[in-house]
C-alpha cells in the first residue's frame, strides 16, 4: 500500500518536455500564489469535471496531464481547440449549440459556431437571480463561464496571432528604443521614423488584448518584496517594457517557453523553465517554495488515496465478520490506521499550504467530517476490538471523501476567505467544534444502522453485542452533544462579535440548533426511560437526517420549486439519503418477532427485561 502511495509521486509523463517543472512555477490567481499545475487542475475540473484529459483525435487516442493540457491551450490553442473537453450534459444546451447528441464531451471548435447564441442567452440569464434560474438557464450560465475561462487561458501566454512569441519579443526588445524615440519626436512635432513607430504600435496592439484578458498573473513584480498586488499578467508585463525601456526577464522566459513548447523543442523548453526558476530563486524563494509544495500536494492526492484505502479496509472487515477471521479484522484495522494517517497528512499539509485551520469551506468540511469520524471509529475499535469501529471509520471516511470530491468541481478549493470569515480564531474554534459534532452525529447514526441491519437480517446480535452497540451510540451521542452545543454557542458569540447579535434565526444557525435539540431529545428520552435500545437507534438514525440538513440542506433553502440551481444534484442526493434513513427507521421499528436476532430466549427468565 505504502509503495503504491509513494510510487504515484513519480512523474508519469513520458515526454522529453519537463512539464512537471513548469507545473511547479508560481503564479497569482484567485488572490493567492499557486503553481501552474493548480491553475490547470482547477480549470479542468470546472470545464471537464476531471483533472486529466483523454480522448481521441484523428491522430489516435491520447492522455495528457492537466499541465500538459494547459500548456497546449496557452501555446498552441488551435490544436487544443479540437480536444473534446467541454462537458455538456444538458440536452437543451446541446440543442442550443446544435451539437450532435450522444456525446458527453465537446471541443471548443464544436461550440464556436454557435457561440453568439450562447452569449446572447447568457446575457439574458445574467439578469435573473441565480435562485430563480431554471436548470437550462443555470447550465447555460455554467457553460458560458467555463467557455470564457477557456478563452482567457488561450491568450494567457501569447497574443492570439503570434506564431513565435520568443522571436517577436526579441525583435521588440530591439525596437523599443527607436520606437519610443519616434513617438517622442512625433509628439514634439519633429520628423520621426514611421517604421519604428509602427513596429511599437503593432506590438502594443497585440499585447493589449493579452493584458486585458489573460487570466493568471504570471509576471512577478519588478522590485522584489513588493506586495502581491503588483503581479501582472503576460500582457501587462510585456507592455510595461514601453515605460521601462526593456522587457522584464520573466516575460522573456515565458516567451521562450511558449515558442519552445509550441515547436515541441524539449531542450529549449526545459532550459527556459530551469533558467526562469533560477531567476526566481534569487528573490522569490517563498513563492517558488509555495508552488513546489502545492504541486507535491496535488500529485500526492492524499484524500483520494485515503478513500481507496478506506474502501479496502471496509471490505476486509466485512469479510472478517462473515468468516470470523481475526487476522482479517486486524488487517482491516491496520489499513484504516494507514488510511487515517494519509488522511491526516493531507489535512495537515492543506492547513500548512493555506495557513488556515482545517475547515474553510464546504469542501474542507467534508474532508474534516470524514477525518473526525475515522478518528472516533478508531477509538471505538481500540476499545471494543470487534471490527465495528473500523467499519464505521472506513465507511464514513469513504462517503465524506466522495462528497468532498464532488464539491471540488466548483474550482479552486483553497479560495481566499471573504472579509467576515477572514479570522483564524473563529475558524479554529467555532467551525472545528461544530464540524466535530457533525462527525459524531454521523458515527452514532451509522452505528445505529449497523445495529438494525445486523439485528433484522442476522442472528449475530445478542444481548452482549447489542448492549455494547447501545453503549457506543450513547457515548458518541454524548460526544456530539458536547461539540454541537459548544460549537453552536461559539457561533452565536462570533455573530455577536461581527454583527452585533447573538442569535438571528438565520437558516445556518437554525440547522445547528436543530442538531442540539435533537441530541437533547435523544438523551432526555433515554434518561427518562421513554426509549430503550431500539428507540435510541432509531433516533440516532434520524440524527443523520438532521445533521445532513444542517450541513447541506440549509444551503439549498431559498431555492425555487422549479429550479435547484447548481445544487440540483446535491438536493436529489439529500432527498435520497433522507428517504433511505427513514426506510432504516421503519426497519428498526419492525416488531421484534420479525427480527432474526433476539429469537432464542436469553440467559434471563424474564422475557420483558431481555428485550431491547
Amino acid at each position: 500500500m505504502a509503495a503504491w502511495v509513494v510510487s504515484t509521486l513519480r512523474s508519469n509523463t513520458k515526454s522529453e518536455l519537463n512539464t512537471d517543472d513548469f507545473g511547479r512555477l508560481p503564479v497569482l490567481l484567485n488572490g493567492r500564489i499557486q503553481p501552474f499545475d493548480s491553475v490547470a487542475r482547477n480549470s479542468l475540473l470546472q470545464i471537464r469535471a476531471r483533472q486529466t484529459v483523454h480522448g481521441e483525435l484523428d491522430s489516435g487516442p491520447y492522455k495528457m496531464s492537466a499541465t500538459e493540457w494547459l500548456l497546449e491551450v496557452m501555446t498552441d490553442p488551435e490544436k487544443a481547440d479540437d480536444r473534446k473537453i467541454f462537458r455538456i450534459d444538458n440536452l437543451e444546451v446541446q440543442g442550443l449549440l446544435e451539437l450532435p447528441d450522444g456525446q458527453k464531451y465537446y471541443s471548443f471548435n464544436q461550440i464556436k459556431p454557435k457561440f453568439d447564441a450562447l452569449t446572447h442567452e447568457a446575457q439574458r440569464v445574467q439578469k435573473i437571480e441565480s435562485a430563480q434560474r431554471t436548470v437550462f438557464e443555470a447550465q447555460v450560465m455554467k457553460l458560458y463561464n467555463v467557455a470564457t475561462l477557456y478563452q482567457r487561458l488561450r491568450i494567457s501566454l501569447k497574443p492570439p496571432q503570434s506564431e513565435d512569441p520568443a522571436a517577436e519579443l526579441a525583435a521588440h526588445q530591439e525596437a523599443i528604443t527607436p520606437g519610443i524615440a519616434a513617438v517622442r519626436a512625433r509628439q514634439a512635432g519633429q520628423e520621426f521614423d514611421v517604421q519604428s513607430l509602427e513596429k511599437v504600435l503593432a506590438f502594443m496592439n497585440e499585447y493589449d488584448v493579452v493584458s486585458r484578458f489573460a487570466l493568471p498573473l504570471i509576471i512577478p513584480p519588478a522590485t522584489p518584496g513588493a506586495s502581491d498586488e503588483d503581479w501582472q499578467n503576460m500582457g501587462s508585463g510585456a507592455l510595461a517594457s514601453l515605460k521601462s525601456g526593456t522587457i522584464a526577464e520573466p516575460v522573456l522566459f515565458y516567451g521562450a517557453m511558449a515558442s519552445a513548447y509550441r515547436n515541441a523543442d524539449a531542450q529549449a523548453f526545459n532550459r527556459a523553465v530551469a533558467d526562469y526558476r533560477d531567476w526566481l530563486g534569487a528573490s522569490y524563494q517563498a513563492q517558488l517554495k509555495k508552488g513546489r509544495e502545492e504541486f507535491f500536494f496535488s500529485r500526492l492526492e492524499p484524500f483520494y488515496k485515503a478513500t481507496v484505502i478506506y474502501v479496502l479496509a471496509f471490505v476486509l472487515v466485512c469479510v472478517s465478520w462473515f468468516t470470523g477471521s481475526e487476522l482479517l479484522r486486524r488487517c482491516g484495522f491496520h489499513l484504516v490506521v494507514f488510511g487515517f494517517i494519509i488522511h491526516t497528512i493531507g489535512l495537515v499539509f492543506r492547513m500548512y499550504l493555506e495557513a488556515r485551520p482545517p475547515v474553510t469551506n464546504l469542501y474542507s468540511s467534508a474532508i474534516f467530517i470524514g477525518w473526525g469520524a475515522a478518528a472516533l471509529g478508531l477509538v471505538l475499535e481500540k476499545i471494543y476490538k470487534d471490527g465495528i469501529g473500523c467499519v464505521v471509520a472506513a465507511f464514513v471516511g469513504f462517503v465524506t471523501q466522495i462528497i468532498a470530491h464532488n464539491l471540488a468541481l466548483g474550482g479552486d478549493t483553497m479560495e481566499m476567505m471573504r472579509a467576515v470569515l477572514d479570522t483564524n480564531f473563529w475558524l479554529a474554534t467555532h467551525v472545528i467544534t461544530i464540524t466535530l459534532g457533525y462527525s459524531a452525529m454521523f458515527v452514532a447514526g451509522f452505528l445505529a444502522i449497523l445495529y438494525i441491519i445486523r439485528g433484522v437480517f442476522s442472528r449475530t446480535l445478542n444481548e452482549a453485542s447489542s448492549k455494547a452497540l447501545a453503549r457506543m451510540v450513547y457515548g458518541i451521542v454524548c460526544f456530539a452533544m458536547f461539540f454541537s452545543f459548544i460549537g453552536t454557542v461559539l457561533g452565536g458569540i462570533w455573530a455577536d462579535q461581527s454583527w452585533g447579535r447573538f442569535w438571528g434565526w438565520d437558516p445556518k444557525e437554525n440547522g445547528a440548533l436543530l442538531i442540539v435539540i435533537w441530541v437533547a431529545i435523544i438523551l432526555h428520552a433515554r434518561w427518562g426511560g421513554l426509549i430503550k435500545e431500539r428507540g435510541l437507534m432509531n433516533l440516532a438514525i434520524f440524527g443523520n437526517v438532521v445533521t445532513a440538513f444542517s450541513w447541506f440542506g440549509v444551503n439549498m433553502l431559498g431555492i425555487g420549486l422549479h429550479s435547484y440551481g447548481f445544487m440540483d444534484a446535491a438536493f436529489k442526493w439529500l432527498m435520497l439519503f433522507t428517504a433511505s434513513q427513514i426506510c432504516l427507521i421503519l426497519l428498526g421499528s419492525l416488531p421484534l418477532a420479525m427480527w432474526k436476532s433476539f429469537q432464542q430466549p436469553v440467559a434471563t427468565n424474564d422475557p420483558v427485561r431481555s428485550r431491547p
Partner: protein
C-alpha cells in the same frame, strides 16, 4: 393533591421532551417558512410570539395552531427550574448536570431579555461627515424643525405610528395642529399618472404633482417600508394647507408660519447621542488580482464635549467598537467606497451567552469525564 400532580407534570422529563420536540418542529418550520415570508416576518411570527396563527383568507380571524418561541421557551424554562428544585441533591455527581442547566436557563433568559431590551440602528457616514445620531433601520418619524434661528433649530419628532392612527396631533412645541388626512405605512410614489395610482390630496409643497398608492408591508430583512402621508396643518387663525410627507422624498419641505420658518418631512427615526462620530477614512481591501473582499474598516473619531474625550478608533470586521453601552459594527458601505455603514446595537444583556457558554462547557466536560473515566478504567481492568 391537584397541585402536587401539577408540580409533578411541570417538573417531569416528559414535559422537557415535549418542549424540545415542539422546539424542534418550530425551528424547522420557521426555517422553511423564511423562504416564502422572509427572515424578518418568520422571526416575528415563529420565534418572537406565543402562538403561530393561521389566518384563513376567507375570514378575518387568527387561529392559533402551534406554540410559538416564547411559549415553548417559557415552558421549558419553568420545567427546568421545577425539575431542579424537585430532584436537587447535593453531591459531586450532579454538579455537571446542574451547571449545564444553569447555563441553559441563563441563555434562555438572556435571549428573552435581548429580545425585549435590545435596540438596533445604523450610522451611515460619508468620509469626512460627522453625526451625533444613529438612525432606525425600519421605522420613520415625522420631523418638524423650526429653523428660524439658524444653528439653534428646534426639532419636534413624532413617531409614524402616531400618524398611522390618523388622530389629531397637538404638541406644546408647535403653534399648529397636525391632522393626518391619509397615511400608508408602505407606499409607492410617481410623478406621472399610472394605473392603480391616485392623486395625492396635497395643496402645498412637492406633493401637489404626485400620484401614490398603498403597498403591502415588507417582510424581507433587507427591505424597508416606505411610508407616505398627507398632513393638514391648522393654526388657531385657520388652515395652512395640506402637505405630502414621505419616506421617498429626499428633501424636507419648507414653509413659513407666523413669521417663523419651518421644515417638515418624514425621516428615519433618529437616536441622538451625547457625542459625535466623524468618519476619517474607509477602506475596502480586496485580495490581489480579484474582487473578493478581504476586509472593510472605518477609522472614526469620537468627540464627546461633556468629558472632553476626543480619540480615534479603527472599526473593522470582527472587531467592533464598544462605547456608551452601544456596540458599533462594520456592517456595510457605499458602492463608491466613499462611505461606511455602521450597525449600532444597544444590548444590555450581551454578556449572558458568554457566561452561559462557560457554564455549559464546564458542565458538559465534567459530565463527559465523569462517565468516560470510570468506563475506561473498567475497560483497562478487564
Amino acid at each position: 393533591m391537584l397541585l402536587d400532580r401539577l408540580y409533578r407534570i411541570i417538573s417531569s422529563v416528559r414535559l422537557a421532551i415535549v418542549c424540545l420536540a415542539m422546539g424542534f418542529v418550530l425551528v424547522f418550520w420557521g426555517t422553511l417558512a423564511q423562504v416564502t415570508m422572509g427572515l424578518y416576518k418568520a422571526q416575528n411570527d415563529f420565534f418572537r410570539s406565543f402562538f403561530i396563527y393561521w389566518e384563513p383568507s376567507w375570514a378575518d380571524i387568527r387561529i392559533p395552531i402551534f406554540p410559538g418561541g416564547y411559549l415553548v421557551g417559557g415552558v421549558l424554562l419553568i420545567n427546568l427550574i421545577a425539575a431542579h428544585t424537585r430532584y436537587y441533591k447535593p453531591g459531586k455527581k450532579k454538579i455537571g448536570i446542574m451547571l449545564i442547566h444553569a447555563g441553559i436557563v441563563l441563555l434562555l433568559v438572556g435571549q428573552f431579555l435581548t429580545d425585549v431590551l435590545s435596540s438596533e440602528s445604523t450610522l451611515h457616514l460619508r468620509i469626512g461627515e460627522t453625526k451625533n445620531y444613529s438612525e432606525a433601520g425600519r421605522s420613520f418619524e415625522l420631523a418638524v424643525v423650526d429653523i428660524t434661528d439658524g444653528e439653534m433649530s428646534k426639532v419636534v419628532a413624532i413617531p409614524e405610528h402616531a400618524l398611522a392612527t390618523k388622530k389629531e396631533i397637538k404638541h406644546p412645541g408647535l403653534p399648529f395642529v397636525l391632522r393626518p388626512k391619509a397615511f400608508y405605512l408602505n407606499s409607492d410614489l410617481t410623478t406621472k399618472q399610472e394605473s392603480g395610482f391616485e392623486r395625492v390630496p396635497a395643496t402645498q409643497g412637492v406633493g401637489t404633482g404626485v400620484w401614490w398608492r398603498e403597498r403591502p408591508r415588507e417582510t424581507v430583512m433587507d427591505r424597508r417600508d416606505m411610508p407616505s402621508g398627507v398632513l393638514e396643518l391648522t393654526s388657531p387663525q385657520g388652515a395652512l394647507g395640506t402637505w405630502l410627507v414621505s419616506g421617498h422624498l429626499m428633501n424636507t419641505q419648507e414653509f413659513t408660519h407666523d413669521g417663523r420658518k419651518y421644515q417638515i418631512g418624514l425621516r428615519l427615526t433618529r437616536f441622538y447621542k451625547p457625542f459625535s462620530i466623524h468618519l476619517i477614512e474607509f477602506n475596502h481591501d480586496r485580495y490581489p488580482g480579484t474582487e473578493i473582499p478581504k476586509n472593510f474598516s472605518s477609522r472614526v473619531r469620537i468627540m464627546r464635549p461633556d468629558t472632553g474625550e476626543d480619540r480615534e478608533v479603527l472599526i473593522y470586521m470582527n472587531n467592533p467598537l464598544r462605547y456608551w453601552g452601544e456596540t458599533y459594527y462594520q456592517a456595510s458601505f457605499d458602492t463608491d467606497d466613499q462611505g461606511s455603514v455602521l450597525q449600532v446595537v444597544r444590548n444590555p444583556s450581551w454578556l449572558t451567552p458568554y457566561f452561559s457558554c462557560v457554564l455549559v462547557s464546564i458542565g458538559l466536560f465534567w459530565q463527559f469525564m465523569a462517565h468516560l473515566i470510570p468506563f475506561l478504567k473498567r475497560r483497562i481492568a478487564t
